[in-house]
């Protein structure tokens, strides 16, 4: 039996440690540990509830926007404050653009190299690769000249001996199966993705005033001024710019990313069987289409034990199906306290003991839904939508199943999504859905503005007594919830239950493991010194532990050194 410890496991913002015991070529036991103390919530206690979001969006360096949004929603929920429709659409467009950016970056830049061996690219035939890609998609970035140019760059990089960040890939690993042409196509899209993620950032920047760390939010709406007769505000010109950016971005997500994810699934069909893990799924409704948030474009719900017939809808943010069902357990987390606590009563007092696999071993708490561990993320989003007959989810999920079955000759059903590869596929399905919704919400915003509605803000009124609020957002990594207690305009408690808390949860008081831990059981490991297969499953969740102190290291030559006295 071999014991493997991988620390850190994320390609961005580390701090996730995974320990596995391997026997007979597969994982028998697994532990997920967050190695970074956060205690972020403590910084919000005692602050003005109107400015919580400014601090909350510094929780994490990558998912800034989502925390800002959950924070204002939590305060609005506590105040029963509705926001103007244009504010809702502006927020939605920001959330959609942010999610598209995030999904694209996850697929290509954070995880594709677990599947794509770039060192085989020099052997590819660009003409054959172009013909293959053309047969799969109408994407315009697949010409043989384009692919030849990318191949030339990879050859140059390898010849120079400066593989740089690519030097730490598991090249030549027996679990890498793609032929050189497929590797070339996917790596060409990896590079093109850098251009397209910029467009998504621009959408967030134009609406949010700055990215990262948007500046346009307010409890009660947004600070964007709308005036069709002013050059400096939201006007037709700016709406046109947004539309053209979205129209540039959408073909990439639907014709390149979506197609590539299907290609990957068809090329690694075994991975539709590994990594199922916790088969309880949670997603919350998002993209409200009215100011009161009564109707949503993305449905929410709960599925238990992989049984799609069991789906229970979460109809809106006031629904007790979510509000009364969440509690966090700290039996195996480095916090004081015993027994699960609902987030509004949650505490964040540290109790560090070192890594003890039968005791406390993580900074992540164990959130539970009616006592059950839950998986969150695009997979939950897609499964809940599919199970509840949501038309847009079915459109893109069925398109993926059809594509894999007919183009690649491998039959896939919705049940196969409950797997490592299923999480990659679900993220691509969600990106294709969000691309359709981007244009819909752009139209909703434009129509509302053209109707003459330039309102974007309803001022909040804080009662002198205590109120509680819940801010929900179906973020790129899954259900995000901020639970706040406000007393006379000031936070008296603040707890964030983030997607990675659900997925990277340690064992609970009953010893039941969380989704990462469970999904690794039975995972193949061909070579314990190169645990690529473990990374594939963990990366399929898109882990993002909260951000940490992240200094550059200087061991080279300095131009200058100044002692400051």
């Amino acid at each position: 039996m071999a014991r493997i410890s991988i620390d850190p496991i994320t390609r961005i913002e580390g701090h996730l440690r995974i320990d596995v015991e391997v026997d007979g070529g597969s994982v028998q036991k697994a532990w997920a540990s967050c190695t970074m103390w956060r205690g972020i919530e403590n910084i919000l206690k005692g602050r003005d509830a109107r400015e919580g979001w400014v601090f909350a969006q510094r929780f994490c360096g990558v998912c800034t926007t989502v925390h800002a949004m959950a924070s204002v929603r939590a305060v609005e929920d506590a105040l029963e404050l509705e926001i103007p429709p244009s504010a809702q659409y502006i927020r939605n467009l920001i959330l959609i653009a942010h999610a598209l950016h995030d999904h694209i970056v996850h697929f290509y830049h954070l995880s594709a190299l677990d599947w794509v061996d770039i060192t085989t690219i020099p052997k590819a035939n660009p003409v054959r690769a172009a013909a293959l890609a053309d047969g799969l998609s109408s994407w315009t970035g697949n010409s043989h000249r384009e692919l030849e140019a990318v191949q030339g760059k990879v050859k140059g990089l390898i010849a120079s001996g400066q593989l740089g960040i690519f030097a730490r890939g598991y090249w030549g690993h027996p679990a890498m199966h793609l032929d050189p042409e497929m590797n070339l196509i996917l790596f060409a899209h990896y590079l093109q993705a850098l251009e397209f993620q910029r467009k998504a950032c621009q959408v967030v920047g134009i609406l949010g005033g700055k990215t990262p760390h948007i500046q346009n939010l307010a409890v009660g709406g947004v600070m964007n001024a709308i005036n069709l007769n002013s050059l400096a505000t939201m006007n037709m010109d700016r709406l046109g710019t947004l539309q053209s950016l979205l129209q540039d971005l959408i073909p990439f997500t639907q014709q390149a990313y979506f197609v590539d994810a299907c290609l990957l699934a068809a090329s690694y069909p075994d991975w539709l069987r590994y990594g199922r893990g916790v088969a309880n799924y949670l997603a919350v409704p998002d993209l409200p289409v009215d100011g009161k948030a009564t109707q949503f474009d993305l449905p929410g719900g709960v599925i238990s034990d992989g049984d799609f017939n069991s789906v229970r809808p979460i109809r809106n943010w006031k629904d007790d199906t979510i509000r009364g069902a969440v509690a966090e357990d700290v039996t195996h987390a480095w916090y004081q306290g015993a027994g699960p606590l609902p987030p509004w009563k949650g505490k964040t007092d540290s109790d560090y003991t070192d890594f003890r696999e039968d005791g406390k071993y993580s900074w992540v708490k164990a959130p539970r839904y009616d006592g059950m561990p839950m998986q969150v993320g695009p997979l939950s989003n897609v499964l809940v939508g599919y199970a509840s007959g949501h038309a847009l989810t079915r459109k893109w999920a069925d398109a993926a199943f059809h594509r894999i079955s007919s183009v690649h000759g491998y039959p896939v059903k919705v049940d196969d999504l409950q797997s490592t590869m299923g999480r990659y596929l679900a993220r691509a399905i969600r990106a294709a859905m969000l691309s359709d919704l981007a244009l819909r919400h752009w139209h909703l915003l434009s129509e509302n503005i053209l109707k003459g509605d330039d309102t974007t803000y309803n001022p909040p009124q804080f009662p002198q007594h205590e109120v509680v609020g819940l801010g929900l957002h179906e973020a790129p990594r899954g259900t995000l919830s901020h639970w706040v207690v406000i007393d006379n305009g000031t936070f008296s408690n603040y707890q964030a239950v983030v997607p990675t808390t659900w997925n990277a949860s340690p064992r609970d008081e009953k010893g039941v493991p969380g989704p990462y831990e469970n999904s690794l059981l039975g995972n193949p490991v061909a070579d314990p010194d190169q645990p690529l297969e473990v990374l594939r499953t963990v990366h399929s969740f898109d882990p993002c532990m909260a951000c940490a102190c992240h200094m550059l290291a200087a061991t080279g030559q300095e131009i200058a050194q100044v002692k400051v006295l």
């Binding site: 390609r11 850098l194 990215t211 200087a554 002692k563 400051v564």
Partner: protein, 212 residues
């Protein structure tokens, strides 16, 4: 792409670091103080990017010069200011990956190099932190270093040949995440603007659009 975004700015001055983690907030603090002390032309953008990891790439894309302000893990006394060319410290960044302290600069640069859009020059102005503890504010040593770093930024920009002049009267830096007491004692010519929810204003949309 829309004409409005046709050209990237020539020079970016970027603060990296988490403002909630003590001296890790050196970068954001220094760029805000630089903005308030110096005035630059439209070809210079000044950005607090927090800890973007690999999402840094869009902000380095196609630039001529990038000046990165960040906390620096070096064997010097806390508060020491170190100025390095990226190439000189790049090899240590790839190793750094294994420790988990990964700002993503190496990733972003390699990707941009593949696109022929890497910045021509990248200089790191780093401060050796005293403490990166959560919610404890910046140390007086590193805050003093930030006050001094701003003049080095100006020097680099002038050497590069872009306009950068000292303002006749400094603006008030908006270091909204710090308490007055943490900073006023050690840098008497800096008057901090207190952040309040009601006084917040949107940054001009021009500066945003130029930045992408």
């Amino acid at each position: 792409m829309n004409a409005e975004f046709a050209t990237a700015p020539r020079v970016s001055v970027i603060g990296l670091g988490n403002i909630l983690l003590g001296d890790d907030g050196f970068g954001p603090c220094a760029v805000e103080m630089f903005r308030c002390k110096y005035e630059c032309g439209p070809d210079v953008e000044i950005l607090d990017l927090g800890t973007p990891g690999v999402d840094l790439a869009p902000y380095l894309y196609g630039r001529g010069l990038v000046v990165l302000l960040d906390a620096l893990d070096a064997a010097h006394t806390p508060g020491t200011l170190c100025i390095c060319r990226w190439n000189a410290i790049a090899p240590s960044q790839v190793k750094l990956r294994l420790t988990g302290h990964d700002p993503g600069v190496a990733e972003a640069l390699t990707q941009l190099y593949m696109l022929d859009q890497a910045p021509h020059e990248l200089v790191v102005i780093g401060a050796v932190p005293k403490s990166c503890e959560f919610n404890k504010g910046i140390s007086s040593e590193v805050f003093r270093t930030a006050c001094i770093a701003v003049d080095h930024i100006a020097g680099l920009l002038l050497d590069y040949g872009v306009r950068c002049v000292r303002r006749s009267a400094s603006l008030r830096p908006n270091l909204w995440w710090l308490d007055d007491s943490a900073t006023s004692a050690c840098c008497t010519d800096i008057v901090l603007a207190r952040h309040t929810a009601t006084r917040r204003t949107m940054p001009s949309s021009e500066s945003v659009e130029n930045s992408l």
